[in-house]
Each structure stands twice: as C-alpha cells, then as structure tokens.
C-alpha cells in the first residue's frame, strides 16, 4: 500500500493548484445546509455500503411470517414476479459470451495470461452470482420464459494480441453499456448487482485499453 495517510487528517491544501488555492477549501454546495463545525474531521475512508443501502440483498430482507402449514393444500402457490427475468437472462447470456471470448483469447495468446486470467476470473464470478439469481432455490425458471441459450462458440480474432485486446475491450464496453439500461428494469437487489458488474466491466475496458 502507498504511504498511509489515514488518521493524519489533512486540513490544508498544498499550494500550486491554482484553482484550488484561489478557491480555498471546497465551497459549500449551492443549496446545501450549513457547513459542519470547522473543527470537524469527517472520515471518508473506508466508505462501506451500509446494510440499509442494500435494498434487495438477502442480508436485509425482512421475511414475511410463514403461513400455517395446515392450509397448504388449498392454496395455490404464489406466482413469481417474472418481469425482470428477461433482464437476468440477457445478463447471463452476456457473461457467457464474455467468458467464451476470454477463454478463446487465453488459448490463442498465453502471453496475455497476466491480463486475461484475472479478468476471466471476474467474469466467471459474475456468471456464478447471476445464475444464483436465476435459480434462487424456488424452482426452475425456463418454464417462465427465461430459457438461457447455450454458450456460443467463439474463436479469438486474427491479427495478433492488439486485435484480441481491442475486441475484448469493445465487448466489455458494450456489455457495460447494456447494463446501464438494464438496471432500470431489474428489481432493487439485482439492479445493484448489475450496476456493480457494469462498473467492473468498465474497469476492464480501461485496463484493456491501456494494455493495447
């Protein structure tokens, strides 16, 4: 880790950053409330996501009271909300495609393992988590209109490592862009997962661009 600054409480702005030194401390935002006491030091690191913020995660789920078992025979099973299923299927399909692309690239260019292997591991993790959402222990989803297509056969593009990395970067960028739209159609918990995956893919794209 770099020189740790935590706890040192930087309270002055170094000189030589013209706009900063001209402006002094960051201005209070327009419309904001009264600034805190000048002596206050607000720790911003780490900034963990509060449990309350995880709207759909299992960690904060409030389970409803279970019905009495005696009446089960007369009660039709509740129908699952399948409105977000196409979003989930699309995300799984996209991850399958990315995994296949990286596996093909890895086979063709072993010298790129230092870059491709960590990214491929991320995509396999994405796929694992998304599949857990697809089959959350309550039954099969294929009959609900959510059949997942088989993974496509992918071969690494010709043209050398540069062409391979450029192809992967385009794939990452496209996948991330589609997830930006997908979060609006997913439920809260899945939306957070999709947004995180999109951020990961945007980070991959940046790294691939630098390696090209």
């Amino acid at each position: 880790m770099p020189e740790a600054g935590a706890g040192k409480g930087l309270s002055t702005r170094p000189a030589g950053w013209p706009a900063a030194s001209a402006a002094g401390p960051p201005a209070a935002p327009p419309g904001g409330s009264k600034p805190a006491s000048p002596t206050a030091i607000q720790a911003v690191w780490p900034a963990p996501l509060s449990r309350r913020s995880l709207l759909g995660g299992s960690a904060v789920l409030a389970l409803p009271a279970l019905p009495l078992l005696g009446g089960c025979k007369a009660v039709e099973p509740a129908k699952a909300d399948t409105s977000a299923l196409p979003v989930l299927v699309a995300a799984i399909t996209a991850e399958q495609d990315l995994v296949a692309r990286y596996e093909a690239a890895r086979s063709a260019h072993a010298d790129l393992a230092w870059l491709l292997d960590p990214v491929l591991a991320h995509h396999r993790s994405h796929l694992d988590v998304l599949r857990r959402h697809y089959v959350p222990g309550s039954g099969r989803r294929a009959g609900e209109g959510g059949r997942i297509p088989a993974s496509a056969q992918v071969t690494a593009p010709e043209g050398g490592p540069g062409a391979v990395l450029a192809d992967l970067r385009r794939a990452e960028t496209g996948a991330a862009a589609r997830l930006t739209a997908a979060v609006a159609k997913a439920d809260a918990g899945l939306a957070q997962v999709l947004a995180s995956i999109g951020a990961c893919e945007a980070g991959h794209a940046e790294a691939l661009g630098r390696a090209t």
């Binding site: 740790a4 706890g7 930087l10 327009p30 805190a36 911003v44 690191w45 759909g56 930006t180 939306a191």
Partner: protein, 162 residues
C-alpha cells in the same frame, strides 16, 4: 417509504461527491502536465455531479448534506505518485457510494448510479495505472462497491417444487 430510501441513497452519493471534490482539490497540486489536466477535468465532473445530486434532493424538498470543511484522506498526497493513488481511492469510494442508489425505487436514479459507478471505476483504474502500480488488470474485486453478503438473491414467492 420509498422516497425516504431514494433520499438517503442520494445523500450517500452526495457525501462521496463532496469528498471527491475536496480530494481532487488537494491532490491536483501534486500533479503536473497532462495528469493535472486530467485531474482538473475530473474535478469539474465531480462538482457538476455534486450539483446535480443537490438539485435532485431539492426537487424532493430535502436539504442536501453539506460538505465537511476538511476530510481525512486515505492517502497523503506528497508526490505525483501518491496523488494518483489518492485519486484512485477516491474513485473507488464513489463507486461504493453509488451502489446504494443503484437499488433505488426510481429507475432513473438507478440508471444514473450505474453510469456513475462505471465512470468512477474506469477513472480509478486509470489513476492506478498513472500511479506507476505496474501492470494494471482492472478492478481488484469482481463486484466493486458491493459486500459479498449482498450478492445472493432475495427469496421470493413462487416457482415450482422441483
């Protein structure tokens, strides 16, 4: 109820933007040339995003959380290298802060959050590379901004018994 949730998520994102605005103001002084230009552009982006969040809170009749006069920074920027490390850390904090907003009831807010998370993650990787960290392969986690406990699906009624 849902509005309260959106508001609190907006406030969390705003806190991270306040910290980023402060942090870039500090670290920019340690950079030179193109790196300083990059920092200035990103600084402007964070200020614009901060103002946008404040406007969205105001539209909901809520007073936005104010910036703190000073912030304890995770890296002390004493050189160009450590300034870049600080910028990378600030961007990772922004990713985490927007993850809550990505689960907001309002689909428009989710889309904004997803977009900001992507931009912040890309900037973080860029700064990591600029800090001379060697070969950079992307985010350190497969799920930036999310704790592992949140990755499981929430049980829901329905499905079949097999």
């Amino acid at each position: 109820m849902s509005e309260v949730t959106s508001v609190s998520a907006l406030q969390e994102a705003l806190k991270a933007e306040h910290a980023a605005v402060y942090g870039y103001g500090v670290l920019g002084a340690r950079l030179r040339g193109a790196a300083q230009g990059t920092a200035r552009t990103i600084w402007d982006d964070h200020r614009a995003q901060r103002d946008d969040l404040i406007s969205r809170l105001a539209a909901r009749g809520v007073r936005a959380v104010a910036a703190s006069p000073v912030y304890r920074l995770p890296v002390r920027p004493v050189s160009g290298r450590t300034a870049a490390q600080l910028a990378a850390a600030l961007e990772r904090a922004v990713v985490t802060a927007y993850a809550g907003l990505a689960g907001a009831p309002d689909p428009a807010l989710r889309t904004i959050a997803a977009r900001e998370m992507q931009q912040a993650m890309a900037r973080s990787v860029r700064w990591q590379a600029m800090s001379g960290a060697g070969r950079v392969t992307g985010p350190s986690s497969a799920f930036p901004g999310l704790p592992s406990a949140s990755l499981g699906p929430a049980p829901e009624p329905g499905g079949s018994r097999d």
